[in-house]
């Protein structure tokens, strides 16, 4: 029993390490080879778990080698586009100039329902709106809308907006993160000043997000409403 427990712990650590080594990807964004490796790793890991007669190394060796092969092959395909095409395939244009390419649809074994589902996933409910639709190597569909159907952007209305970094969680559960403060382009003194202005102690704060423009959002540990400031303009929301 204890052996099974220890082996489970070792395999758990190994699988976590293997997944971390492969990198961060969501399941839906996996390349075909990555999906195969993920399934294989989970299957192989169960063998030495189920049967204690199988040495752990017999499970560990294929898991590590498969993941290492995957990392090396993905690195090689990054360097060599031809290899990338062989391993990952290439994106296919399924709708071109608003017209469905039936041959590509057949090649991909994509039904009209599949196409419509993918378009609806992109907030498009009518084929009239689509200029181009591309089936990516991960199987997801990227859509370019017709110019007349595109959302209006600030640049279309000649409105200038300053680019800024996203707000950082500078205080989480009463603990200040110096890394986040530095990333947000702030310093501890500025944070202290904001807290003094709000009459708060660091330990009172459940969450404080701030950015370089001086905007901040503070949620207290008690049930008080959040304190929000947009670049100097303070307003409490309840």
């Amino acid at each position: 029993m204890i052996i099974a427990l220890i082996r489970a712990l070792i395999l758990y650590i190994l699988v976590i390490f293997a997944v971390r080594l492969m990198g961060k990807r969501q399941l839906g964004e996996l390349q075909p080879s990555e999906l195969v490796i993920t399934i294989l790793v989970s299957n192989i890991a169960t063998l030495p778990l189920e049967d204690v007669n199988i040495p752990l190394m017999v499970g560990v060796t294929p898991i590590l080698s498969l993941v290492c092969f995957e990392v090396i092959v993905s690195w090689l395909s990054l360097k060599h586009p031809k290899m990338r095409k062989i391993i990952s395939g290439h994106p296919k244009i399924i709708i071109s100039n608003g017209e469905i390419d039936r041959k590509v649809l057949r090649d991909l074994r994509f039904s009209v329902d599949d196409l419509m589902t993918a378009l609806r996933g992109n907030n498009i409910f009518s084929l009239d709106e689509v200029q181009y639709a591309i089936v990516e190597t991960t199987g997801s569909v990227s859509v370019m809308k017709k110019a007349s159907c595109e959302n209006v952007a600030c640049s279309d209305l000649n409105i200038s907006k300053q680019n800024s970094n996203p707000p950082q969680i500078v205080i989480a559960d009463g603990k200040i993160s110096d890394k986040a403060i530095a990333f947000a382009g702030l310093d501890r003194q500025k944070i202290s000043r904001i807290l003094q202005k709000e009459k708060l102690e660091t330990s009172d704060v459940l969450l404080m997000a701030a950015d370089s423009s001086g905007s901040y959002y503070i949620a207290e540990k008690n049930e008080a409403p959040p304190r929000i400031s947009k670049g100097g303009k303070t307003n409490d929301k309840s």
Binding site: P55, M57, V71, I72
Partner: protein, 125 residues
């Protein structure tokens, strides 16, 4: 790039370990096969003391080998050899006539273990 370097490192380590264990298992199996042959020759010469000494040596070598080999080899392969090996000394002491058959079986099992860990095309496929 760090991931690629780590992967290359792990892969190299696995290749080195596999080759090392492969060679080690092959050599130890050769040693064990030699010892079973020594026992057989001693029995043919009616030299029971030499046969017993070789059998004890075989038992010791097998036990030492089994501990390290169990890291890489499935335990069912090892259990069968251990079972036959444990019978050799009592059979020699009792002067059993079935000793030749058991020695043949032991040799065959060791040879199977040796072959199963050798990267032959038949094993790979």
């Amino acid at each position: 790039m760090t991931r690629v370097k780590i992967s290359a490192g792990i892969l190299s380590l696995l290749i080195i370990l596999s080759i090392f264990f492969g060679i080690r298992i092959n050599r130890r199996c050769d040693e064990l096969l030699q010892l079973t042959d020594d026992i057989r020759i001693s029995i043919e010469k009616n030299d029971s003391s030499s046969a017993l000494a070789a059998a004890e040596k075989l038992e010791q070598r097998w036990e030492a080998f089994r501990k390290t080999a169990s890291i890489m080899v499935k335990s069912d392969k090892m259990t069968e050899i251990s079972r036959i090996n444990s019978r050799i000394i009592p059979m020699l002491e009792n002067g059993s006539e079935e000793i030749s058959a058991d020695l043949d079986e032991l040799s065959e099992m060791i040879r199977l273990l040796q072959n199963s860990e050798t990267p032959l095309l038949t094993n790979i496929l």
